[in-house]
Symmetry: C2
Subunit: 115 residues, 2 copies
DNA sequence: ATTCAATATGTTTTAAAATGAATAGTGATT
DNA sequence: AATCACTATTCATTTTAAAACATATTGAAT
């Protein structure tokens, strides 16, 4: 007898500004790490990500969104750093909240499936 | 003045069998085309897809799902062909239904966002 | 003015993925 | 047994994406 696999539904959501995708799960994690460690460099190190990639993500996010999500400082003590703006904080929170709502909805609706 | 971009949320869903992803938007379209034209070859031609890729998708779907979604016949009049099984039909329908439900939910919830 | 750790980018290398071409196999029909 | 249009599969090639590497720049602190 072959064990039947259990069907389940997974999803991803993205925040767009007009038609520009600017935020998804991965970028939210990057934002959270920047908030935690105070720099793009160290945030990237914590994930499996090169500084270059992380920096490009930040650039894209800031350029696409109506307000910048990450504020950067150059030079000075410690070489500079990066921090999350109020808009960035809101983006993180609302992304998580939204994701959770969708997750609950999908979990509930999945029960009705007769696939 | 710079025009403010309108924020919006988009999503994708996938059907999994245990931890194997076996159905997403692209594959559903492939299934529909196979149903319509009766062969993998012609279904692939209708999309921007090589026969090779389409054939591999069908193979993966059939292997991952509990029941095969596409039934194939080899040789004979017309060289053979492919058709959708009952399970395949159900998969198509339920994918669309589910996607629509999630879409409505997200559209509704999006109104509450203050991003 | 030198140091330092970070941001800011360009360039090169490597790896992964998609594509295309080529070939074999199938079986009802003629 | 020859044909035909499809499925089935391998292999070499191309394209794309990711990673790695290399520098330049910045500015407070010393």
């Amino acid at each position: 007898m072959s064990a039947k696999k259990k069907y389940n539904i997974r999803f991803r959501i993205w925040f767009y500004a007009d038609d520009d995708k600017f935020l998804g799960k991965g970028r939210v994690e990057l934002l959270e790490r920047i908030k935690e460690v105070g720099s793009i460099t160290n945030a990237a190190k914590g994930m499996k990500m090169s500084y270059r990639q992380a920096w490009q993500m930040v650039k894209e996010m800031n350029e696409s969104a109506n307000e910048i999500l990450v504020e950067k400082s150059l030079g000075g003590k410690g070489g500079g750093g990066a921090s999350i703006t109020k808009a960035g904080e809101r983006a993180i929170t609302q992304f998580h909240d939204f994701e959770q709502k969708v997750n609950r909805f999908i979990a509930e609706e999945s029960k009705k499936l007769t696939i």
